[in-house]
Amino acid sequence: MNGWRTLLPNAWYVAVREYRSRARSRSFVIGTILLAAIAFVATQTPVLIDYAVGSSQTRMEVVVRASGVPSDSLSVLNQGLNGPQASDPNAHETYVLSWLPGGDVTAAQRELEQGKFDALLIVDRDPTTQDLSFLLRTDLTQDGGAVKAISSALTNLEIEDRLVRAGTSTGAVLAPYTLQVVPVNSSASKANSISQEISVNLLSTGLIVLIFMAIITYGTWVAMSVAEEKGSRVMELMLNATTPLQMLTGKVIGNGAAGLTQYGIILAAVVGGLVAQGPIHQAAVGSSSAGAPFGGLNPTVLAAFVALFVLGFVFYSLLYAALGSLVSRQEDVQSATSPLMMLIMIGYFMSIFGLQAIDETWVKVASLVPFFSPYLMLARVSMGHVEVWEFALAIALLAVAIAIALVVAARIYSAGVLLYGQRVGLRQVLRAARVSR
């Protein structure tokens, strides 16, 4: 049959044309630049937040009315608040202390009210116990972390003071020490770490959204380009020059490649943004930010992502092309492809909920079904809750589904492209598909 003549080189010519016309279009260029810019800015959100809050420094004045405080009190406090053993090391906060021995409380109070300082600490000595007593005036109470950090640093100071009074004076008592943490085994340590769990969860969601967005956006491109060809009647020229299968293949490859190009540029902006985050944070806020945003991303997950992304995209693009061939105008593409949209949404939500129930049977079953496997299998792989054979089976089923979709789509396509007029019903298409080549 003519429809099954060799794919090349015509499918390739079609792909190249599709890619060029897509990549040269104004909407593509503007869209890519805009999205890349948004992505870059989005990666700087932590910096922006820190910058906007502007409170990475807590300025505290310390009025010491007590007599005989240890000579290294300031450094003990500094160590407790800003040192490596500070109780709140992730707060990116630095405490700037103004040390006022025998200072004027009234003057300090005034400065506090004027906003020159965030906190006023008054150090007294209890006449009965001879212990140091502390009074903290501040609005930082809403921010528990700061008060906690200060109180823990003050504990150190109190201990130091008692030791001095007991005659065991030594400045070395609170010198920094190292604590080495060695995991028992890797999977247990992963499970144990809540923050890592959250980060893996975030990563999974992120990867699912990436696939979801790509399929919807670029799948629609395929449908649009089919409808456009039909609307402008180039279709008839094309049908004489190529076979539906060649056209279909070329369109999916061409538009897919254009989509991947845009995606690649956006991802490059994201990666660049993350790399630049540290230096930018340093320049804008004055301290470097901590945190690895891609915790849990390893080569296995990446490879699975690429495989599922490409196969899922091809699968859905074929269906998009088939549906796109049923309408005569680009405006109708949206409504014609809405059933597909529903299917994609279902898969997407299943996978988002599935992340919370990764070991449920329905998740395991659905992650093998071609319509949903791009999402759900990805969720399972990124959460590390999957057997190798399950992944292999999902990929194999998806590949089979693509082969079936190719045949079905080519039939619908070759029937649909010549049916003009109002929207075409399924029955008409099936009938036309039966008699067309």
Binding site: Y13, S21, M235, L237, R329, Q428
Partner: protein, 314 residues
């Protein structure tokens, strides 16, 4: 060695688009498809091209079924003009040629040559949407012939062309004919058919009502037509009173009358001379295709009784 359409039928739902259509088109011939809108011309062409499959019947080219003939055999100019709107003319034509297996270099050279011939070489680097409809049509014609097809199928190629461009296209037809190509086209314009075609088929509601060489078709009624003009009598009132003669049309320059079969048209001239008229013009001819068309199909129907869609893009 010819294009043979054998007993083709095709239904679209309730509509019988083609009903047992058989035609034989000789190689190297210019063949005209005549018919009202919806008569089945486009469907017939699409079936020849194997874009559509008939419900029954076969098409063969040089003895081989069209399903096995190489696609590069055919050049197709669809009725609905369509090009990639945003694509440059040259890129577009080279693209189509490449799909038919023409080498890019050769495609570029051929394209430039044809643009020159159609007097639009400066359009090579314009986008298709920037061209007038007539010029887009010329581009499409080039797209249909770049791969040097043996058979050219053209659906309403002259529609929408001004006389100058129609003339250019007719020259191109002649050129293709001289190269030994077989040309098949459909049209409403009877004068064009009489000017260009050796053979025709008139289709009506999916059936071939009359077909053959233009000469035979025009003679098929047995009637003859005389055209007469005499000095000082534009009405020629007596003409209708002659036995077997019926005035069919009065024009400023002559009066036309049909002479029934079995009557000698020479008698018209004779009786004019007998009446002492000074004859300015006398002509014996066969009925025009238009008359035959109207006789078979009825009034040329310009209403939209067609399966073909309206163009969506301008």
């Amino acid at each position: 060695m010819s294009l043979i359409i054998d007993s083709i039928s095709k239904c679209f739902g309730e509509v019988q688009a083609l009903d047992d259509v058989s035609l034989e088109i000789e190689p190297g011939e210019v063949f005209g498809f005549l018919g009202a809108n919806g008569a089945g011309k486009t469907t017939a062409m699409r079936i020849v091209l194997d874009i559509l499959r008939p419900d029954s019947g076969t098409v063969t080219w040089n003895g081989r079924p069209n399903t096995e003939v190489s696609r590069d055999t055919w050049g197709y100019l669809p009725e609905e003009r369509g090009l990639y709107a945003k694509m440059k003319v040259l890129d577009q034509l080279v693209f189509f040629a490449k799909l038919h297996g023409v080498k890019p270099k050769e495609a570029v050279r051929e394209t430039r040559e044809w643009l020159e011939r159609f007097r639009i070489p400066e359009y090579a680097d314009r986008r298709a949407e920037q061209l007038s409809k007539g010029n887009q049509q010329k581009i499409q014609f080039i797209a249909a012939i770049l791969h040097n097809p043996q058979v050219l199928l053209m659906d309403e190629p002259f529609t929408g062309l001004d006389p100058v461009n129609a003339g250019l296209l007719k020259e191109a037809f002649q050129e293709m004919k001289d190269r030994g190509k077989t040309l098949v086209f459909s049209t409403h314009q009877m004068e064009t058919v009489e000017e260009l075609c050796q053979s025709i088929a008139i289709l009506d509601r999916g059936r071939v009502v009359v077909g053959g060489t233009v000469r035979d078709v025009r003679r098929s009624t047995g009637r003859q037509v005389v055209r007469l003009a005499v000095d000082g009598d534009p009405e020629i009132a007596w003409l209708g009173t002659l036995d077997g003669v019926r005035v069919s049309r009065r024009r400023q320059d002559y009066t036309e009358a049909e002479v029934a079969p079995g009557h000698d048209p020479e008698l018209v001239l004779q009786s004019a001379l007998e009446r002492g008229c000074r004859v300015l013009h006398f002509e014996i001819t066969d009925p025009s295709l238009e008359e035959i068309f109207i006789e078979h199909v009825g009034q040329i129907d310009t209403s939209e009784r067609t399966l073909a869609p309206k163009a969506a893009y301008a």
